[in-house]
């Protein structure tokens, strides 16, 4: 437990609640500087600093010349509202986790931060999440997804590990089968077949993965081929 040295300033009538101590600002949102702290914490993998954020840390002290009738503007008062510290810590930790997820999603593909994306499979009752940064090729991703969704196979990716988009007939064979193919939502919001771009580009642009039946993915193919042709 941390002990605080509070700056108690008492201008005006004492005893009327003119304390203006600040404690952990208990809101769901964090200021930018705190977000930066979170990012740094992730990179250094420092467990203790994330706990620090949960402690009642004195962020700044505010002076308050308070009339007992009017409440001070937005000053945080210790122990108010009367929510138990235990509960406050749990909620702060939850908002930490949510912020962390937002931060990592925002930095996916940049720097050394992780790149979590949600993976859904048609027919499966739940979602998974994968960190694309853990893999270096489509084959590795395919293996991992296969383990996760064990009845799923990604088909033959060929020697380069990419769907051979240039070979229309091969592609159509794959898409006509009842096998599952992975699709993803890219930065533009379009749904594409996985494998149409080089791996690194894929990691940077992939926002979400969806594993669908080959027959359902047919609609994606022409677009995918068109985009691929434009890129190549």
């Amino acid at each position: 437990m941390m002990h605080l040295k509070e700056t108690e300033l008492c201008l005006g009538l004492p005893g009327g609640g003119c304390e203006a101590d600040t404690a952990l600002k208990f809101t769901g949102k964090r200021g930018y500087s705190q977000t930066v702290d979170l990012m740094l914490n992730l990179q250094t993998n420092d467990q203790s600093s994330s706990t620090d954020l949960n402690d009642n840390k004195l962020q700044n002290s505010t002076k308050n010349n308070k009339d007992p009738i009017k409440p001070p503007a937005k000053a945080q008062v210790v122990g108010w509202p009367p929510v138990r510290n235990y509960r406050k810590n749990v909620m702060a930790q939850k908002s930490n986790n949510e912020e962390t997820e937002k931060v990592v999603a925002a930095t996916a593909g940049g720097g050394s931060a992780a790149a979590f994306v949600k993976v859904s499979m048609d027919g499966a009752p739940y979602l998974r999440k994968v960190d694309l940064k853990l893999y270096e090729s489509y084959q590795q991703l395919s293996d991992a997804l296969a383990k996760m969704f064990s009845s799923f196979t990604m088909g033959d990716y060929g020697s380069q590990g990419m769907i051979d988009f240039m070979n229309e007939s091969k592609l159509m064979d794959l898409l006509n089968s009842s096998e599952y193919v992975p699709s993803y939502e890219d930065k533009d919001g379009d749904w594409m077949l996985v494998g149409d771009v080089p791996w690194q580009m894929f990691v940077e642009s992939c926002k979400r993965l969806r594993i669908m039946k080959g027959s359902d993915a047919i609609g994606l193919a022409p677009r995918a081929m068109a985009k691929c042709k434009n890129r190549c």
Binding site: M1, E6, P14
Partner: protein, 600 residues
């Protein structure tokens, strides 16, 4: 006169010849009494019995098996073990409630150690220990584990000072352990696999295992094996490191559960934690198999898409705690419309007034409602308001206990609740915006709280907030004669408010006040009553050291503690005392007071 042998009442003054003479008639009486008193369980009744005569006092002391001590400093351990010889269960409470809100310095006290030592020597047959807001060390837990051969139950609520090692000792040494419940404790983060300390062979007697407040992850394999070997396990509350997949496996092993804390209720975030995860997991199926679940809690990191899994058990639920799940009205509605039997409901205010309306529509049997805030800052608008309160009052007529956090409130809604819910025993309304008046009329909240004390004839616990004048306290003093616990913050005009309360509330036991302009004159108006109370807490009020000294002088058996929250010595800010905490003690001031606490 003839004597009925069966009753064996003795009349020592009789001189009829032929009657057996009894050398110690009192002894016979006591034996009889003891046989009767065994059946007396209510501690209030027992306290009354013990006051009849010395003989009755002794008989009662011999037969009391459940000990309740509401303030651990009100009596020394040795006095307790001296009087009661045959205790089987102990319920001990330490710090006052405001300690939960960081208003008390960390090392203030409430140490369990002296009690552990005293009881270890005196109560060999002790089976059950419940502690609330006490500091318990790993060594203390070790003493418990080794001293009481028949130890069965330990319940720790809002305690601190111990860690996984201490829990491990209890798990490994207490062979008859049935109940291990850790409830909102601050458990030290020791890297220690306490779950594996339970004996791993043979059937376990475990009936209840609650570790939702333990922050470190547990050895899941050991946990699963333990659950599989515990056919009597009824209550299981997991911590947030248990994923939904793991919960699924546990639920399948323990379909006899009645009380389940679900842990995170989501997936672990990184693959690799569960390589063998079965694709076809049907969580609803697992819940459907647990036909006996009536109490559900947890949902620490709820992924809302999994909420439908609990539908199969909703119809039987009497208690549902979603207060760590940030869900909106729509998500709640889908769940709550099945919960017709619900009696206890805890939630976050993210469900909004609309969610509360849904509760009111379905949960006609609701007795207890708690609405906690997601955002604790003082905003102008909040997700719940007088609209939600009114809806609840109209739908849940049997309501007995409510805790409601909101930003704004109206007198009209509170008055309506006082009339619609006459069975209210506990009314705690926390208007987060300090000094907020009635949102529509701009008037103080006096009339609302006044109606509550006037109309709710069973009310024993009250917490007030918002803009209040002395008028509110005059109502409380006038009508609140059953009130035993009163919590006040940022209220009132002056001393008269405190006077009204201390003079009017004859059953007042616990008084906790912060940041209100009550001074010495108000304080001194309670001299006639302080000995009957468990404690009085006044912080950031206008009580002076002189006033406290006066109280201490006039009431020598009262322990009057004065201190500052930030542990500096002195206890005074300007002329006013920062925190005053006082209570009656049979054994004088405590020996373990830290330096920053002054006892007057």
């Amino acid at each position: 006169m003839s004597e009925d042998v069966g009753t064996s009442t003795c009349k020592p003054k009789t001189s009829v010849t032929g009657e057996y003479s009894v050398t110690n008639p009192d002894q016979v009486l006591e034996n009889v009494l003891e046989n009767v008193l065994i059946f007396l369980t209510s501690r209030r009744d027992r306290n009354a019995v013990s006051l009849v005569s010395k003989s009755w006092h002794r008989a009662e002391a011999h037969t009391r098996s459940d000990l309740f001590i509401g303030n651990c400093y009100s009596v020394a351990p040795i006095r307790v073990t001296g009087r009661f010889k045959r205790i089987r269960s102990v319920w001990l409470k330490g710090k006052p409630r405001f300690a939960d809100f960081s208003l008390m310095p960390a090392d203030w006290g409430a140490h369990f150690t002296p009690w552990a030592h005293a009881m270890a020597g005196a109560y060999r047959a002790l089976e059950k220990i419940c502690l609330k807001r006490m500091t318990v060390t790993n060594d203390d837990l070790g003493i418990i584990a080794r001293s009481f051969l028949n130890f069965k139950e330990i319940v720790l609520v809002c305690c601190d000072g111990f860690g996984a090692r201490g829990i491990g000792v209890i798990a490994s040494e207490c062979r008859n352990l049935r109940v291990l419940e850790l409830n909102e404790d601050e458990v030290l983060d020791e890297e220690f696999d306490w779950i594996s300390c339970f004996p791993m062979e043979g059937t376990s007697n475990l009936e209840s295992l609650c570790f939702d407040c333990v922050e470190s992850s547990v050895n899941f394999d050991a946990l699963e094996r333990l659950v599989a070997r515990s056919p009597l396990l009824k209550k299981l509350r997991l911590n947030r490191h248990v994923s939904i997949g793991q919960l699924y496996r546990l639920a399948l092993r323990a379909p006899q559960l009645t009380d389940l804390g679900t842990g995170s209720f989501s997936l672990p975030e990184v693959i690799g934690q569960q390589q063998d995860e079965n694709l076809e997991l049907d969580y609803g199926h697992a819940f459907a198999a647990c036909r006996s679940i009536i109490c559900l809690s947890g949902f620490r990191d709820l992924a809302p898409e999994y909420l439908p899994a609990i539908y199969p058990v909703c119809a039987n639920l009497t208690s549902l705690n979603l207060s760590y799940a940030n869900i909106d009205a729509q998500q709640l509605k889908a769940v709550i419309r099945h919960c017709h039997k619900l009696r206890v409901f805890w939630t976050l205010d993210s469900i909004c007034d609309e969610g509360l309306q849904a509760v009111a529509d379905t949960c006609k049997d609701l007795r207890e409602l708690r609405v906690f805030p997601i955002d604790a800052s003082e905003n102008a608008e909040g997700p719940v308001s007088e609209v939600g309160l009114l809806a609840i009052s109209l739908g849940c007529r049997k309501l007995e206990s409510i805790l409601y956090f909101c930003q704004q409130m109206t007198n009209a809604a509170v008055i309506a609740m006082s009339k619609n819910c006459p069975d209210l025993v506990v009314f705690r309304l926390c208007i987060i915006g300090r000094y907020r008046p009635d949102r529509f009329t701009g008037e103080p909240m006096d009339e609302g709280f006044g109606a509550i004390v006037k109309n709710c004839k069973k009310l024993t616990r009250l917490a007030v907030s918002g803009l209040l004048t002395d008028r509110a306290f005059s109502y409380i003093g006038q009508y609140g004669n059953l009130v035993r616990t009163l919590s006040v913050a940022f209220a009132a005009d002056g001393d008269t408010g405190l006077k009204y309360v201390l003079e009017g509330c004859t059953n007042l036991q616990k008084l906790e006040i912060r940041d209100s302009p009550f001074g010495d004159s108000g304080l001194l108006s309670g001299l006639h009553h302080f000995y009957n109370m468990r404690f009085v807490w006044l912080s950031s009020c206008r009580v002076t050291k002189q006033g406290c000294l006066e109280v201490a002088r006039r009431l020598p058996k009262l322990v009057v503690e004065v201190f500052r929250r930030d542990e500096e010595e002195g206890g005074e800010r300007g002329d006013f005392v920062n925190t005053l905490y006082m209570y009656r003690s049979l054994d004088g001031p405590r020996a373990d007071a830290p330096q920053f606490v002054k006892i007057l």
